[in-house]
Amino acid sequence: MCENCGCESPDPFQVHAGPDAGAAAHSHMPAHGHDSAPVTGWHAHPAENGSVTWHHHGDAAPRPLLDANQRAADLNRCYFRDHGILALNLVSSPGAGKTTLLKTTLERLHPHIGCAVVVGDLETQADAEALRPTGAPVIQITTGTVCHLDARMVAAAVARLPHTGLRLLFIENVGNLVCPASFDLGEAHRIVLLATTEGENKPLKYPPIFHGARAVVITKTDLAEPAGFRVELARQAITQVAPQAEVLTLSSRNGDGLDTWVAFLDRLLQAFDPRG
């Protein structure tokens, strides 16, 4: 029901001609997303020169403009939940060590926990080939010129994965700190990698990708000293942008911090309730 006039019209753009022309004219827009959100009206402001501006306050709109991907992501999320698959979206800039960390992780985990990988790159099968010796099923998506994975690409790739015993799905996104931030893939958690060679202030420069991350993993800690990287400064920046994120530090090369990383994954698996 429209809060402004009490009418039951389902037409989101219905115009009511008021007694004093213009002033009472308004339209109805369904609020999006939240079950309890009230229907919020658009309304018109007539100006003396005869023009009319239509607008609404707050976030009532026909639908958000990124809606197409969001719907596909919501479907993926349901699918993962129904199949008991914990999906993690791994994002970072190019060369932060996603593939190397995944390789090490799969070597440790896959013998015990069913893992699989969907990996996105602009070109080549190189990452998939690097990961296949671990024995985990790997699907490579080559995106061509597209700088991020979207929810539909992931759905198509997951359909090609063997599902038997699959519990943990790593989605290795295209190396890019900008575009992947805008595309929910339906994952349970986004995990951002930040290499010590990138500098401590990356979170402040790229807030959308860091905000809301479940964890930020500082990689290549063996290079922190030569790179002049100060972990405490990075922690501060992460806390400013993503206060909820857990911060882990590791080196895939010398093995430092890998136990903590694996324990973290184990904790996520324990906490993952497919019925929840």
Partner: protein, 114 residues
């Protein structure tokens, strides 16, 4: 660079809105964006100008408004800012980003007066 697909969605909405309301042309269009939308305003404006040709929004002015995000300052408490900033405008201290919108919405239109 996903401004093109955003622009397609925007033009779809504008075209059906204009058809419903019988507006042949639009003069101004407002879009509200969350601080975490990741949209580059210049790129969106460029896409809009190029893609609106042949639609009721052809030649319309696109106005972008930022939806404020919520920040926390250890000294001043919670505050709303319309731009991404990690320095408190009141005391100069460090800010924490509590929450901000990721999406963007058509928030207003002005039809060309007939």
């Amino acid at each position: 660079m996903h401004e093109v697909s955003i622009c397609e969605a925007l033009l779809d909405q504008l075209t059906s809105l204009a058809a419903q309301q019988g507006w042949p042309r639009l003069r101004r269009v407002w879009v509200r964006l969350g601080l975490l939308s990741g949209v580059v305003p210049d790129a969106l404006e460029f896409a809009f100008a190029a893609m609106a040709t042949g639609t009721p929004a052809e030649g319309a002015e696109l106005l972008l408004e930022n939806e404020p995000g919520h920040f926390d300052c250890a000294v001043c408490g919670e505050l709303e800012l319309e731009r991404m900033d990690f320095t408190c405008p009141q005391c100069g201290g460090a800010l924490q980003l509590l929450r901000a919108g990721r999406d963007l919405w058509l928030s207003g239109v002005e039809p060309m007066p007939s």
